[in-house]
Amino acid sequence: MFGSFFPVILFLLAAGGLVLVILFFSSLIAPHRPNPAKNSTYECGEVAEGSSWIRFNSRFYIIALIFIIFDVEVVFLYPWAIVYRHLGFWAWLEMAIFLVILLTGLAYVWAKGDLEWIRLPEKETESSAETPLTPDNLRN
Protein backbone atom coordinates (compact mmCIF):
# COMPACT_ATOMS: atom_id res chain seq x y z
CA MET A 1 0.00 0.00 0.00
CA PHE A 2 2.76 2.41 0.94
CA GLY A 3 5.38 0.67 -1.16
CA SER A 4 8.81 0.55 0.48
CA PHE A 5 7.51 2.77 3.27
CA PHE A 6 5.13 0.07 4.53
CA PRO A 7 7.68 -1.48 6.97
CA VAL A 8 8.64 2.00 8.15
CA ILE A 9 5.04 2.88 8.99
CA LEU A 10 4.68 -0.51 10.66
CA PHE A 11 7.73 0.22 12.82
CA LEU A 12 6.38 3.63 13.85
CA LEU A 13 2.95 2.20 14.71
CA ALA A 14 4.54 -0.68 16.61
CA ALA A 15 6.65 1.76 18.64
CA GLY A 16 3.57 3.70 19.71
CA GLY A 17 1.59 0.52 20.33
CA LEU A 18 4.37 -0.99 22.40
CA VAL A 19 4.51 2.00 24.75
CA LEU A 20 0.73 1.93 25.02
CA VAL A 21 0.65 -1.78 25.88
CA ILE A 22 3.48 -1.52 28.42
CA LEU A 23 1.95 1.48 30.18
CA PHE A 24 -1.49 -0.17 30.17
CA PHE A 25 -0.05 -3.37 31.63
CA SER A 26 1.79 -1.36 34.26
CA SER A 27 -1.37 0.55 35.18
CA LEU A 28 -3.15 -2.78 35.79
CA ILE A 29 -0.67 -4.10 38.34
CA ALA A 30 0.81 -0.91 39.84
CA PRO A 31 -0.76 0.68 42.91
CA HIS A 32 -2.61 3.96 42.51
CA ARG A 33 -2.84 5.92 45.75
CA PRO A 34 -2.44 9.62 44.96
CA ASN A 35 -2.27 12.30 47.64
CA PRO A 36 -1.64 16.05 47.44
CA ALA A 37 1.94 15.83 48.67
CA LYS A 38 2.81 13.05 46.24
CA ASN A 39 1.25 14.89 43.32
CA SER A 40 3.00 18.18 44.03
CA THR A 41 5.91 19.35 41.90
CA TYR A 42 9.33 18.14 43.03
CA GLU A 43 11.59 20.88 44.26
CA CYS A 44 14.07 19.17 46.57
CA GLY A 45 11.47 18.66 49.30
CA GLU A 46 10.44 22.32 49.48
CA VAL A 47 7.02 23.61 48.47
CA ALA A 48 7.39 24.64 44.82
CA GLU A 49 7.83 28.38 44.29
CA GLY A 50 5.52 29.63 41.54
CA SER A 51 5.16 28.18 38.08
CA SER A 52 8.11 26.80 36.11
CA TRP A 53 6.76 28.14 32.85
CA ILE A 54 9.10 31.08 32.87
CA ARG A 55 10.89 33.09 30.23
CA PHE A 56 14.27 31.56 29.56
CA ASN A 57 17.49 32.98 28.29
CA SER A 58 17.38 34.41 24.76
CA ARG A 59 20.63 32.64 23.81
CA PHE A 60 18.58 29.48 23.29
CA TYR A 61 16.60 31.30 20.61
CA ILE A 62 19.80 32.41 18.88
CA ILE A 63 21.09 28.83 18.88
CA ALA A 64 17.75 27.68 17.48
CA LEU A 65 17.92 30.32 14.72
CA ILE A 66 21.45 29.36 13.70
CA PHE A 67 20.41 25.72 13.81
CA ILE A 68 17.51 26.31 11.41
CA ILE A 69 19.77 28.06 8.89
CA PHE A 70 22.37 25.31 8.91
CA ASP A 71 19.90 22.45 9.06
CA VAL A 72 17.97 23.67 6.04
CA GLU A 73 21.25 23.91 4.24
CA VAL A 74 22.17 20.33 5.18
CA VAL A 75 18.82 19.34 3.65
CA PHE A 76 19.93 21.00 0.39
CA LEU A 77 23.22 19.15 0.52
CA TYR A 78 21.70 15.65 0.60
CA PRO A 79 20.24 15.60 -2.93
CA TRP A 80 23.35 17.36 -4.21
CA ALA A 81 25.62 14.72 -2.65
CA ILE A 82 23.95 12.00 -4.71
CA VAL A 83 24.03 13.64 -8.14
CA TYR A 84 26.91 16.11 -8.21
CA ARG A 85 29.34 13.63 -9.74
CA HIS A 86 27.15 13.29 -12.82
CA LEU A 87 26.91 17.07 -13.10
CA GLY A 88 30.65 17.61 -12.91
CA PHE A 89 32.90 20.34 -11.64
CA TRP A 90 30.42 23.24 -11.88
CA ALA A 91 27.91 21.55 -9.57
CA TRP A 92 30.72 21.07 -7.08
CA LEU A 93 31.84 24.70 -7.41
CA GLU A 94 28.33 26.06 -6.96
CA MET A 95 27.85 24.09 -3.77
CA ALA A 96 31.31 25.13 -2.54
CA ILE A 97 30.36 28.79 -3.08
CA PHE A 98 27.07 28.19 -1.26
CA LEU A 99 28.96 26.63 1.67
CA VAL A 100 31.46 29.49 1.77
CA ILE A 101 28.58 31.98 1.97
CA LEU A 102 27.13 30.04 4.90
CA LEU A 103 30.52 29.84 6.56
CA THR A 104 30.69 33.62 6.26
CA GLY A 105 27.43 33.66 8.19
CA LEU A 106 29.00 31.47 10.84
CA ALA A 107 31.99 33.79 11.01
CA TYR A 108 29.61 36.73 11.49
CA VAL A 109 27.74 35.02 14.34
CA TRP A 110 31.08 34.07 15.85
CA ALA A 111 32.41 37.64 15.62
CA LYS A 112 29.20 39.00 17.16
CA GLY A 113 29.89 36.79 20.17
CA ASP A 114 26.67 34.80 19.92
CA LEU A 115 28.57 31.54 20.13
CA GLU A 116 30.05 32.52 23.49
CA TRP A 117 27.99 30.83 26.17
CA ILE A 118 29.43 32.80 29.07
CA ARG A 119 28.69 36.49 28.66
CA LEU A 120 28.95 39.06 31.40
CA PRO A 121 25.92 41.34 31.68
CA GLU A 122 26.67 44.61 29.88
CA LYS A 123 25.81 46.71 32.91
CA GLU A 124 28.42 44.97 34.95
CA THR A 125 31.23 45.30 32.41
CA GLU A 126 30.55 49.03 32.02
CA SER A 127 30.39 49.84 35.70
CA SER A 128 33.14 47.50 36.82
CA ALA A 129 35.63 50.38 36.81
CA GLU A 130 33.77 52.36 39.46
CA THR A 131 32.01 49.82 41.64
CA PRO A 132 33.90 47.19 43.61
CA LEU A 133 33.10 43.58 42.84
CA THR A 134 31.11 42.60 45.89
CA PRO A 135 28.60 39.75 45.78
CA ASP A 136 25.76 42.30 45.88
CA ASN A 137 27.00 44.14 42.81
CA LEU A 138 27.54 40.92 40.90
CA ARG A 139 23.98 39.86 41.55
CA ASN A 140 22.63 42.92 39.74
Binding site: A15, L18, I22, S52, I63, D71, L115
Partner: protein
Protein backbone atom coordinates in the same frame (compact mmCIF):
# COMPACT_ATOMS: atom_id res chain seq x y z
CA UNK B 1 1.03 -11.27 1.84
CA UNK B 2 4.26 -13.14 2.50
CA UNK B 3 6.03 -9.78 2.55
CA UNK B 4 3.73 -8.53 5.28
CA UNK B 5 4.28 -11.64 7.40
CA UNK B 6 8.05 -11.43 6.95
CA UNK B 7 8.03 -7.75 7.86
CA UNK B 8 6.03 -8.42 11.02
CA UNK B 9 8.37 -11.29 11.95
CA UNK B 10 11.35 -8.98 11.42
CA UNK B 11 9.67 -6.29 13.52
CA UNK B 12 9.09 -8.73 16.39
CA UNK B 13 12.71 -9.83 16.09
CA UNK B 14 14.00 -6.25 16.21
CA UNK B 15 11.85 -5.38 19.24
CA UNK B 16 13.06 -8.50 21.07
CA UNK B 17 16.63 -7.62 20.18
CA UNK B 18 16.10 -4.08 21.46
CA UNK B 19 14.78 -5.31 24.81
CA UNK B 20 17.58 -7.86 25.17
CA UNK B 21 20.18 -5.26 24.24
CA UNK B 22 18.87 -2.77 26.80
CA UNK B 23 18.75 -5.38 29.56
CA UNK B 24 22.25 -6.54 28.73
CA UNK B 25 23.73 -3.07 28.20
CA UNK B 26 22.45 -1.72 31.52
CA UNK B 27 23.86 -4.72 33.38
CA UNK B 28 27.12 -4.60 31.44
CA UNK B 29 27.57 -0.89 32.03
CA UNK B 30 27.06 -1.36 35.78
CA UNK B 31 29.60 -4.17 35.85
CA UNK B 32 32.03 -2.17 33.71
CA UNK B 33 31.74 0.93 35.88
CA UNK B 34 32.19 -1.26 38.94
CA UNK B 35 35.31 -2.81 37.47
CA UNK B 36 36.73 0.57 36.42
CA UNK B 37 36.13 2.01 39.88
CA UNK B 38 37.56 -1.03 41.67
CA UNK B 39 34.27 -2.26 43.12
CA UNK B 40 32.02 -5.19 42.32
CA UNK B 41 28.78 -3.76 40.88
CA UNK B 42 25.61 -5.87 41.11
CA UNK B 43 26.46 -9.31 42.53
CA UNK B 44 23.41 -10.77 44.29
CA UNK B 45 20.46 -11.15 41.90
CA UNK B 46 20.59 -14.27 39.74
CA UNK B 47 23.78 -15.81 41.04
CA UNK B 48 26.55 -15.34 38.45
CA UNK B 49 27.73 -11.71 38.60
CA UNK B 50 24.18 -10.48 39.30
CA UNK B 51 23.08 -11.05 35.71
CA UNK B 52 19.38 -10.88 36.64
CA UNK B 53 19.74 -7.39 38.13
CA UNK B 54 18.24 -5.37 35.22
CA UNK B 55 15.35 -7.81 34.81
CA UNK B 56 14.59 -7.40 38.52
CA UNK B 57 14.82 -3.61 38.10
CA UNK B 58 12.44 -3.72 35.14
CA UNK B 59 9.90 -5.74 37.12
CA UNK B 60 10.27 -3.33 40.02
CA UNK B 61 9.59 -0.35 37.73
CA UNK B 62 6.56 -2.15 36.28
CA UNK B 63 5.10 -2.43 39.79
CA UNK B 64 5.76 1.21 40.73
CA UNK B 65 3.05 3.83 40.94
CA UNK B 66 2.78 6.14 37.96
CA UNK B 67 2.68 9.68 39.36
CA UNK B 68 1.57 12.63 37.25
CA UNK B 69 2.10 15.93 39.07
CA UNK B 70 -0.93 18.11 39.71
CA UNK B 71 0.69 21.11 38.02
CA UNK B 72 1.79 19.25 34.89
CA UNK B 73 0.41 19.76 31.39
CA UNK B 74 -1.08 16.28 31.39
CA UNK B 75 -1.68 15.54 27.67
CA UNK B 76 1.88 16.57 26.77
CA UNK B 77 3.25 14.76 29.82
CA UNK B 78 1.61 11.52 28.65
CA UNK B 79 2.57 12.02 25.00
CA UNK B 80 6.32 12.62 25.50
CA UNK B 81 7.43 8.96 26.04
CA UNK B 82 5.58 7.95 22.87
CA UNK B 83 7.38 10.56 20.77
CA UNK B 84 10.77 9.56 22.13
CA UNK B 85 10.20 5.84 21.66
CA UNK B 86 8.82 6.29 18.14
CA UNK B 87 11.94 8.28 17.24
CA UNK B 88 14.09 5.48 18.62
CA UNK B 89 12.40 2.42 17.14
CA UNK B 90 11.73 4.25 13.87
CA UNK B 91 15.46 4.39 13.18
CA UNK B 92 15.70 0.58 13.41
CA UNK B 93 13.51 0.24 10.30
CA UNK B 94 16.39 1.12 7.96
CA UNK B 95 19.42 -0.18 9.87
CA UNK B 96 20.84 -3.14 7.91
CA UNK B 97 21.61 -6.05 10.24
CA UNK B 98 22.66 -8.25 7.32
CA UNK B 99 22.57 -8.56 3.55
CA UNK B 100 18.83 -9.23 3.60
CA UNK B 101 18.05 -8.32 7.21
CA UNK B 102 16.64 -4.84 6.88
CA UNK B 103 13.15 -3.51 7.54
CA UNK B 104 13.00 -1.48 4.37
CA UNK B 105 15.90 -0.51 2.15
CA UNK B 106 14.59 3.00 1.47
CA UNK B 107 16.35 4.92 -1.28
CA UNK B 108 16.52 7.83 1.19
CA UNK B 109 17.47 5.61 4.18
CA UNK B 110 20.22 7.80 5.60
CA UNK B 111 18.09 10.90 5.30
CA UNK B 112 15.19 9.12 6.97
CA UNK B 113 17.37 8.17 9.96
CA UNK B 114 18.46 11.77 10.47
CA UNK B 115 14.86 12.96 10.17
CA UNK B 116 13.34 10.41 12.54
CA UNK B 117 16.10 10.84 15.14
CA UNK B 118 15.40 14.58 15.27
CA UNK B 119 11.93 13.82 16.66
CA UNK B 120 13.57 12.78 19.95
CA UNK B 121 14.52 16.41 20.65
CA UNK B 122 10.82 17.34 20.41
CA UNK B 123 9.90 14.59 22.87
CA UNK B 124 12.55 15.73 25.33
CA UNK B 125 11.43 19.35 25.11
CA UNK B 126 7.83 18.19 25.54
CA UNK B 127 8.70 16.16 28.64
CA UNK B 128 10.65 18.98 30.23
CA UNK B 129 8.10 21.70 29.51
CA UNK B 130 5.01 19.72 30.47
CA UNK B 131 6.44 18.63 33.84
CA UNK B 132 6.17 22.19 35.14
CA UNK B 133 9.29 21.55 37.17
CA UNK B 134 12.34 23.80 37.12
CA UNK B 135 14.84 20.96 36.90
CA UNK B 136 12.94 19.43 34.03
CA UNK B 137 12.73 22.70 32.14
CA UNK B 138 16.45 23.46 32.54
CA UNK B 139 17.34 19.91 31.56
CA UNK B 140 15.10 20.00 28.50
CA UNK B 141 16.36 23.39 27.32
CA UNK B 142 19.97 22.33 27.64
CA UNK B 143 19.27 18.99 26.05
CA UNK B 144 17.40 20.49 23.09
CA UNK B 145 20.14 23.09 22.53
CA UNK B 146 22.77 20.36 22.67
CA UNK B 147 20.96 17.88 20.42
CA UNK B 148 20.08 20.39 17.71
CA UNK B 149 23.59 21.87 17.76
CA UNK B 150 25.27 18.50 17.34
CA UNK B 151 22.80 17.43 14.67
CA UNK B 152 24.55 19.70 12.15
CA UNK B 153 28.06 18.16 12.46
CA UNK B 154 26.38 14.74 12.38
CA UNK B 155 24.42 15.60 9.24
CA UNK B 156 27.53 16.95 7.53
CA UNK B 157 29.82 14.07 8.48
CA UNK B 158 27.23 11.48 7.43
CA UNK B 159 27.21 13.17 4.04
CA UNK B 160 30.79 12.03 3.50
CA UNK B 161 29.87 8.31 3.07
CA UNK B 162 26.89 9.39 0.95
CA UNK B 163 29.22 11.37 -1.31
CA UNK B 164 31.59 8.41 -1.53
CA UNK B 165 28.89 5.88 -2.44
CA UNK B 166 26.68 8.27 -4.40
CA UNK B 167 23.58 6.93 -2.66
CA UNK B 168 21.49 7.33 0.49
CA UNK B 169 20.26 3.73 0.55
CA UNK B 170 21.77 1.93 3.53
CA UNK B 171 22.39 -1.34 1.67
CA UNK B 172 24.14 0.48 -1.19
CA UNK B 173 26.26 2.33 1.34
CA UNK B 174 27.31 -0.98 2.91
CA UNK B 175 27.84 -2.69 -0.46
CA UNK B 176 30.15 0.14 -1.52
CA UNK B 177 32.42 -0.77 1.38
CA UNK B 178 32.53 -4.52 0.70
CA UNK B 179 35.60 -6.59 -0.07
CA UNK B 180 37.86 -5.85 2.88
CA UNK B 181 38.58 -3.37 5.62
CA UNK B 182 40.65 -1.15 3.28
CA UNK B 183 37.39 -0.31 1.51
CA UNK B 184 35.68 0.90 4.67
CA UNK B 185 34.76 4.55 4.60
CA UNK B 186 36.92 5.65 7.51
CA UNK B 187 39.99 4.66 5.50
CA UNK B 188 38.78 6.28 2.26
CA UNK B 189 40.26 9.55 0.98
CA UNK B 190 42.74 9.56 3.89
CA UNK B 191 42.59 11.28 6.26
CA UNK B 192 39.22 12.86 5.46
CA UNK B 193 37.15 9.71 5.94
CA UNK B 194 38.74 9.31 9.35
CA UNK B 195 38.04 12.95 10.26
CA UNK B 196 34.37 12.48 9.32
CA UNK B 197 34.22 9.32 11.45
CA UNK B 198 35.78 11.04 14.46
CA UNK B 199 33.45 14.03 14.17
CA UNK B 200 30.45 11.71 13.80
CA UNK B 201 31.45 9.59 16.78
CA UNK B 202 32.03 12.51 19.16
CA UNK B 203 28.89 14.29 18.05
CA UNK B 204 26.88 11.10 18.45
CA UNK B 205 28.09 10.76 22.05
CA UNK B 206 26.72 14.26 22.58
CA UNK B 207 23.53 13.39 20.71
CA UNK B 208 22.64 10.63 23.18
CA UNK B 209 23.43 12.87 26.17
CA UNK B 210 26.10 10.67 27.66
CA UNK B 211 29.13 11.70 29.68
CA UNK B 212 31.26 13.73 28.94
CA UNK B 213 28.29 15.51 27.33
CA UNK B 214 25.65 14.69 29.96
CA UNK B 215 24.99 18.25 31.09
CA UNK B 216 21.23 17.92 30.40
CA UNK B 217 20.86 15.31 33.12
CA UNK B 218 23.85 15.84 35.35
CA UNK B 219 22.57 14.25 38.56
CA UNK B 220 24.67 16.47 40.77
CA UNK B 221 23.00 19.65 39.54
CA UNK B 222 19.74 18.81 37.77
CA UNK B 223 18.39 15.76 39.67
CA UNK B 224 17.46 13.83 36.51
CA UNK B 225 17.01 16.59 33.92
CA UNK B 226 13.91 16.34 31.77
CA UNK B 227 12.87 13.03 33.36
CA UNK B 228 12.73 14.38 36.94
CA UNK B 229 8.94 14.16 37.30
CA UNK B 230 8.58 10.82 35.56
CA UNK B 231 8.17 7.66 37.60
CA UNK B 232 7.43 3.98 37.15
CA UNK B 233 7.14 2.59 33.66
CA UNK B 234 6.95 6.03 32.05
CA UNK B 235 10.44 6.72 33.39
CA UNK B 236 11.55 3.29 32.19
CA UNK B 237 10.53 4.31 28.65
CA UNK B 238 12.97 7.24 28.75
CA UNK B 239 15.67 5.05 30.18
CA UNK B 240 15.08 2.37 27.58
CA UNK B 241 15.16 4.72 24.62
CA UNK B 242 18.34 6.25 25.97
CA UNK B 243 20.09 2.89 25.84
CA UNK B 244 18.42 1.94 22.56
CA UNK B 245 19.72 5.21 21.09
CA UNK B 246 23.18 4.27 22.26
CA UNK B 247 22.86 1.25 19.97
CA UNK B 248 21.29 3.25 17.12
CA UNK B 249 24.13 5.79 16.91
CA UNK B 250 26.74 3.02 17.19
CA UNK B 251 24.99 0.98 14.51
CA UNK B 252 24.86 3.98 12.16
CA UNK B 253 28.56 4.60 12.79
CA UNK B 254 29.37 0.93 12.12
CA UNK B 255 27.22 0.87 8.98
CA UNK B 256 28.48 4.04 7.39
CA UNK B 257 32.14 4.10 8.40
CA UNK B 258 33.12 0.56 9.45
CA UNK B 259 31.61 -1.45 6.62
CA UNK B 260 28.35 -2.53 8.27
CA UNK B 261 27.78 -6.24 7.87
CA UNK B 262 30.67 -6.80 5.44
CA UNK B 263 33.64 -8.79 6.69
CA UNK B 264 37.05 -7.17 7.24
CA UNK B 265 38.96 -9.73 5.17
CA UNK B 266 37.69 -11.46 2.00
CA UNK B 267 38.29 -15.02 3.26
CA UNK B 268 36.21 -14.37 6.40
CA UNK B 269 32.94 -14.04 4.45
CA UNK B 270 31.78 -17.46 5.71
CA UNK B 271 30.98 -15.77 9.04
CA UNK B 272 27.43 -14.37 8.70
CA UNK B 273 26.98 -10.61 8.19
CA UNK B 274 24.85 -9.97 11.30
CA UNK B 275 27.73 -11.16 13.49
CA UNK B 276 30.12 -8.65 11.92
CA UNK B 277 27.53 -5.91 12.17
CA UNK B 278 26.73 -6.58 15.83
CA UNK B 279 30.41 -7.00 16.66
CA UNK B 280 31.32 -3.61 15.17
CA UNK B 281 28.32 -1.92 16.80
CA UNK B 282 29.13 -3.42 20.18
CA UNK B 283 32.72 -2.20 19.95
CA UNK B 284 31.41 1.34 19.46
CA UNK B 285 28.90 0.88 22.32
CA UNK B 286 31.75 -0.31 24.52
CA UNK B 287 33.86 2.74 23.62
CA UNK B 288 30.95 5.02 24.56
CA UNK B 289 30.61 3.29 27.95
CA UNK B 290 34.36 3.44 28.46
CA UNK B 291 34.34 7.21 27.75
CA UNK B 292 31.45 7.68 30.17
CA UNK B 293 33.33 6.20 33.10
CA UNK B 294 36.67 7.78 32.19
CA UNK B 295 36.04 11.42 31.36
CA UNK B 296 34.62 14.17 33.58
CA UNK B 297 31.66 16.24 32.47
CA UNK B 298 32.31 19.22 30.19
CA UNK B 299 31.09 22.71 31.05
CA UNK B 300 28.18 23.98 28.99
CA UNK B 301 30.27 26.69 27.28
CA UNK B 302 32.91 24.11 26.32
CA UNK B 303 30.17 21.87 24.98
CA UNK B 304 28.63 24.52 22.73
CA UNK B 305 32.03 25.93 21.83
CA UNK B 306 33.45 22.65 20.59
CA UNK B 307 30.35 22.05 18.48
CA UNK B 308 30.03 25.43 16.78
CA UNK B 309 33.68 26.45 16.63
CA UNK B 310 35.48 23.15 16.00
CA UNK B 311 33.17 20.43 14.68
CA UNK B 312 31.04 22.64 12.43
CA UNK B 313 33.84 24.40 10.45
CA UNK B 314 35.85 21.17 10.23
CA UNK B 315 32.93 19.11 8.96
CA UNK B 316 32.16 21.81 6.37
CA UNK B 317 35.72 21.92 5.07
CA UNK B 318 35.92 18.14 5.22
CA UNK B 319 32.84 17.83 3.05
CA UNK B 320 34.14 20.31 0.47
CA UNK B 321 37.49 18.54 0.26
CA UNK B 322 36.01 15.02 0.12
CA UNK B 323 33.55 15.93 -2.60
CA UNK B 324 36.39 17.50 -4.60
CA UNK B 325 38.49 14.37 -4.04
CA UNK B 326 35.69 12.14 -5.30
CA UNK B 327 35.33 14.32 -8.38
CA UNK B 328 38.99 14.38 -9.42
CA UNK B 329 40.90 11.55 -7.83
CA UNK B 330 38.33 8.79 -8.30
Amino acid sequence: MLDVILTIAYLVGVISFLFLFVLFAVWFERKLSGWMQDRLGPMETGGFQGWLQTIADAIKLLLKEDIIPEQADKPLFRLAPYIIFIGTLGAFAVIPFGAHLIGSDLNIGLYYIIAISSIIAIGILMAGWSSNNKWSLYGAMRSAAQIISYEIPIGLSLLVPAVMAGSLSMQTLVAAQGGGFWNWNFLQAPPFGLIAFIIYFWASVAEVNRTPFDIPEGESELVAGYATEYSGMRYAMFFMSEYANLFVVSAIGATLFLGGWSSPLPFLTFIPGPIWFLGKSMVLVFIQMWLRWTLPRLRVDQLMGVCWKVFLPFSFLNLIVVSFWMLWVK
